[in-house]
């Protein structure tokens, strides 16, 4: 293998230059080694455990190639930490609108080491996805090394680009199973100067979600809509962001349209702190031996799902995000069995949704998979798509699929 690729462990490679990534992959091809591709490995608990011969850590590719604030674009190595990225762009009044969570608290890892590469490869999007789109909506271009050790480029640096297939989007949420990323080009956005969060006492879940949907159909810039249990009981929280003039108007419009008094108002910093706790799933207060789930489903089915999951799925605590189209929940420790997991998934499916295991013991994720199973047609196509980039199946085998 290349001399410049620094060995951090007997089987872990940590290149610091894009060309070294290609060398690592070529070596793996020669040796028939499977590679576990990761950033700094802070979120390996998300997705299935990988059985590989060596680890390829991209955390060493931690340079910002360029940042042009007036162009709202940044190009950087996958190893740049989220903290560095956020601080860099915040200094110019910009942010990542999709509000990526760290989830390091869930996995007991160091948030300071969480990378943008891992964030994008895991398609992590937070509460604001409701309003501004997901991680996939902010990728403009990528560079990477495919399973034949070839360096390739896709996308570009402009916001509008329909030149060739959107391979960049394919990388988002591919968990290192398609290519080893060496560079990401992201679209940034001006951070709203003001934010305010309004809390209201909850009533019936269905009624609350219907009311929330009405609010979300109104021309109000609602960038967060959750329903959660607080020390004050179940509450609805709406976040409004924007310029000073807009926030005041939108808040007035929100309070006019909702059918109940404001229970609490959180301004700027307090509001931001509140949504950080949401983003990091703190309202779940997950015990170490509980499973953590994300359920994506139609809003109309949220109530039905929560009821049945409480009765028959071992659900312990939950909150709804994205106006009810996303439920985060914990299930009791005794649900950490193959049977219980597949039963829980069946409940979600019966409600027209699907369930992702965000945290569970390795063995369980290995046998049941962290991600909901795909249809035969989609699974077969996904396999062919991976093979198109990585014909020998070297990259993070099993990370997204169950053998």
């Amino acid at each position: 293998m290349s001399e410049t690729a620094q060995k951090t462990a007997a089987t872990a490679m940590r290149p610091t230059k894009p060309e070294d990534v290609a060398s690592v992959v070529k070596d793996a091809i020669l040796n028939g080694h499977k590679l576990d591709i990761r950033g700094n490995g802070t979120r390996t608990g998300y997705g299935n455990p990988v059985k590989a011969d060596a680890t390829l850590e991209l955390g060493g590719l931690d340079q910002i190639e360029f940042y042009e604030p007036e162009e709202l674009v940044i190009r950087l190595g996958p190893g740049v930490t989220m903290q560095t990225l956020r601080a860099t762009i915040a200094a110019r009044g910009q942010y990542l609108p999709f509000e990526p969570p760290f989830w390091t608290g869930l996995y007991g890892t160091d948030p300071a080491r969480a990378t943008i590469g891992g964030t994008m490869a895991s398609a992590l999007s937070g509460p604001r996805r409701l309003f501004t789109g997901a991680a996939r909506d902010y990728i403009l271009g990528i560079q990477g090394v495919n399973g034949q050790g070839e360096h390739f480029v896709a996308g570009g640096r402009t916001v509008k680009n329909v030149t060739g297939y959107d391979v960049s989007k394919l990388m988002i949420g591919s968990f290192g199973t398609i290519a080893a990323l060496t560079s990401l080009t992201l679209k940034l956005w001006p951070a709203p100067p003001r934010e305010q969060t309004l809390l209201f006492d909850a009533t019936d879940l269905d009624a609350d979600l219907v009311r929330t949907a009405e609010i979300l159909r109104a021309p109000i810039a609602v960038s967060g809509a959750v329903r959660l249990e607080t020390p004050q009981g179940w509450q609805l929280a709406f976040r409004i962001e924007g310029m000073q003039e807009g926030v005041a108007e939108h808040v007035a419009e929100l309070t006019r349209r909702i059918d109940r008094p404001v229970a609490a108002t959180l301004d700027d910093k307090d509001s931001a702190a509140f949504w950080t706790t949401i983003r990091e799933l703190e309202p779940l207060s997950a015990a170490p031996d509980e499973l953590i789930w994300r359920i994506n489903l139609p809003v109309s089915q949220a109530r039905g799902f929560i009821d049945v999951a409480r009765q028959r799925g071992g659900l312990s605590r939950c909150f709804t995000d994205w106006g009810g189209a996303e439920i985060f929940c914990t299930t009791k420790p005794d649900t950490a069995t193959d049977d219980a997991v597949s039963r829980f998934r069946a409940l979600a499916k019966a409600c027209g949704g699907h369930a992702t295991l965000i945290r569970a013991p390795d063995a369980l994720r290995r046998s049941q998979g962290a991600f909901p199973p795909a249809s035969d047609a989609v699974a077969a196509l996904s396999t062919r798509v991976r093979a198109a980039f990585d014909p020998m199946g070297l990259f993070s085998p099993g990370r997204m699929t169950v053998a």
Binding site: D27, L30, E68, E70, E71, V73, R129, L130, D137, N146, Q148, E150, F152, V153, A154, G156, T158, V159, K160, V162, T163, G164, Y165, D166, V167, K169, L170, S174, W189, V210, A213, R217, A218, P219, A221, G242, E245, G246, A248, E249, E253, N296, L297, P298, V299, S300, G323, G352, H354, S375, A377, V378, L381, S382, R384, V385, A388, F389, M392, M400
Partner: protein, 499 residues
């Protein structure tokens, strides 16, 4: 002009009537168009410079019929060119002589609008604007608004990842698709994502790959789009500048200040002169370029934005800044932009419009280059484009009756696109590659980049029957890819035959 296309198979053409009979058994007698006079209107899409007579035109009425048509074509080795309303500006729906046109016009229903989930589920042949019309009673709209929105179909919009004036703030088609149903050449029906916000979470982003895939991967049979609240109100600023450079700088200054307008459009003097008689307006003689800036949101918000942008424009040396004070005024200002292409069309026999995108701060350089190219080719041109996202639409004027004029116009356009790539931009912002920009792909992508995209295509359509001759300058050679073995880490640079 004859665009080089994959060689047509005379054996297929000889079997036209037999194939028509087989397809009629699937879609019904009247929905296979086989008379030559009736196939003629399908010879081209939005680019009339490229024409080819399709083998047959097939108009199915359901996803199942589409699936059976694809299987029939696979069995018979017949190529398929999917087509919505045929408005592509890159020749995306240009027929091939030995292939059918698969039109989605009959699949034009809005299947459902769900106000609770804020989605619409539509058939691929539904026109873009009908989605917003159906969503309107709920206060919602479908945001991507390509200028063809009155007629272009959602299926076509997805295939081309259509943009539009408002995508600067609200994103392109890809940002608004929650679910797709598509049929592969092997007959598999893919159901990706679904009818709610997070339906596509988990798994590979195959929706992302299909969006903008120009009909080369699968035929899309149903689409679920995200609906958003209609903006409460909007105002438009019309800002004139005495130089193109000043206008370009103003674009950067507005966005650099943290304001993202709903739309930010540029028109040069030639366009203004062409438009003026149509809108009965005169433009100050010192005006070299005009920016149109739409700002939307709540009332106080919009008023504050109008003030802020006005201040920026004045600082950047605007000669005149006018802000709309009513919807009628807003429409009037937009009218000049909306009539631009038709107005230019009256100045010349023909025009050719291309679609490169560049980093905004390179606008002055690239516009200066265009002036050079204009001299080089002796062809007049005008500029009217989406300045906010650096998406250029140079309008190159020519006369198709003069032999060689079209070729000169095409070379002019190619020079512009190469310049776009050279300054860090891309060949296409919203029109797609199609046949028009196909042969320029190697200027933006290396052989490996292109081969990687082609192997991706093989994963979807190893038969290469779907929309052949588009997007890539070379065949994909999927059969070889299927047999590919390890090259011991050797780089592979095969000599691939060009069309």
């Amino acid at each position: 002009m004859t665009m080089q296309m994959p060689p047509a198979d005379p054996a297929i053409i000889a079997r036209r009537e037999q194939l028509a009979a087989g397809l009629r058994a699937i879609v019904g007698q009247e929905w296979v168009v086989s008379e030559e006079s009736e196939r003629a209107p399908y010879q081209c899409d939005g680019i009339t410079a490229y024409m080819a007579m399709p083998l047959l035109v097939v108009l199915p009425a359901s996803a199942d019929e589409i699936r059976r048509v694809l299987l029939f074509c696979k069995e018979n080795g017949v190529k398929i060119v999917p087509r919505g309303s045929g408005t592509s500006l890159s020749g995306g729906a240009l027929p091939v002589l030995d292939g059918i046109i698969l039109g989605t016009a009959r699949l034009c229903n809005i299947v459902e609008v769900d106000p609770l989930e804020r989605i619409a589920r539509v058939q691929p042949g539904a026109r873009n604007i009908t989605v917003s019309e159906a969503a309107s009673p709920h206060g919602l709209c479908y945001m991507p608004d390509p200028s063809s929105q009155i007629i272009s179909t959602i299926g076509g919009n997805v295939a081309e990842n259509a943009g539009g004036v408002h995508c600067l703030k609200y994103g392109v088609t890809a940002n608004h698709i929650l679910g797709l149903e598509a049929v592969l050449m092997n007959g598999d029906i893919l159901r990706l994502g679904g009818d709610y916000l997070g339906a596509a979470e988990g798994g590979l982003d195959l929706i992302g790959v299909l969006t903008g895939s120009e009909g080369l991967l699968a035929v899309i049979t149903e689409i679920t789009v995200r609906l958003v609240p209609k903006p409460e109100m909007a105002r438009v600023l019309s800002m004139s500048f005495s130089s193109v450079d000043a206008a370009c700088h103003c674009v950067g200054a507005i966005i650099g200040s943290g304001i993202i307008p709903a739309g930010l459009e540029f028109m040069d003097r030639k366009v203004l002169d062409a438009v003026a008689p149509l809108i009965q307006e005169t433009f100050d003689s010192n005006t070299a370029a005009l920016l149109i800036c739409e700002l939307d949101g709540s009332k106080a918000e919009v008023d504050a934005l109008v003030q802020a942008v006005t201040a920026i424009a004045n600082k950047e040396g605007a000669i005149e800044v006018r802000a709309s004070n009513s919807d009628a005024e807003r429409e009037r200002i937009w009218r000049s932009r909306k009539l631009a292409f038709a107005a230019i069309g009256k100045l010349c026999r023909d025009y050719y419009c291309t679609d490169g995108t560049i980093p905004r701060n390179r606008l002055p350089d690239v516009l200066a280059k265009m002036a050079e190219f204009s001299k080089k080719y002796g062809l007049n041109y005008a500029n009217c484009f989406h300045a906010g996202d650096g998406n250029l639409h140079p309008i190159i004027m020519y006369d198709s009756r003069i032999p060689g004029d079209l070729e000169k116009a095409e070379e002019f356009g190619a020079d512009v696109l190469r310049t776009c790539v050279d300054v860090g931009g891309v060949l296409s912002g919203e029109h797609g590659i199609g046949v028009e920009k196909r042969d320029l792909m190697p200027h933006q992508f290396s052989a490996i980049d292109l081969e990687q995209q082609q192997t991706l295509r093989c994963a979807f359509d190893p038969t290469e029957l779907l929309n052949p001759g588009k997007m890539f300058p070379t065949p994909c050679r999927c059969a070889e890819f299927g047999r590919m073995h390890v090259h011991n880490g050797q780089l592979r640079f095969p000599d691939v035959p060009r069309f």
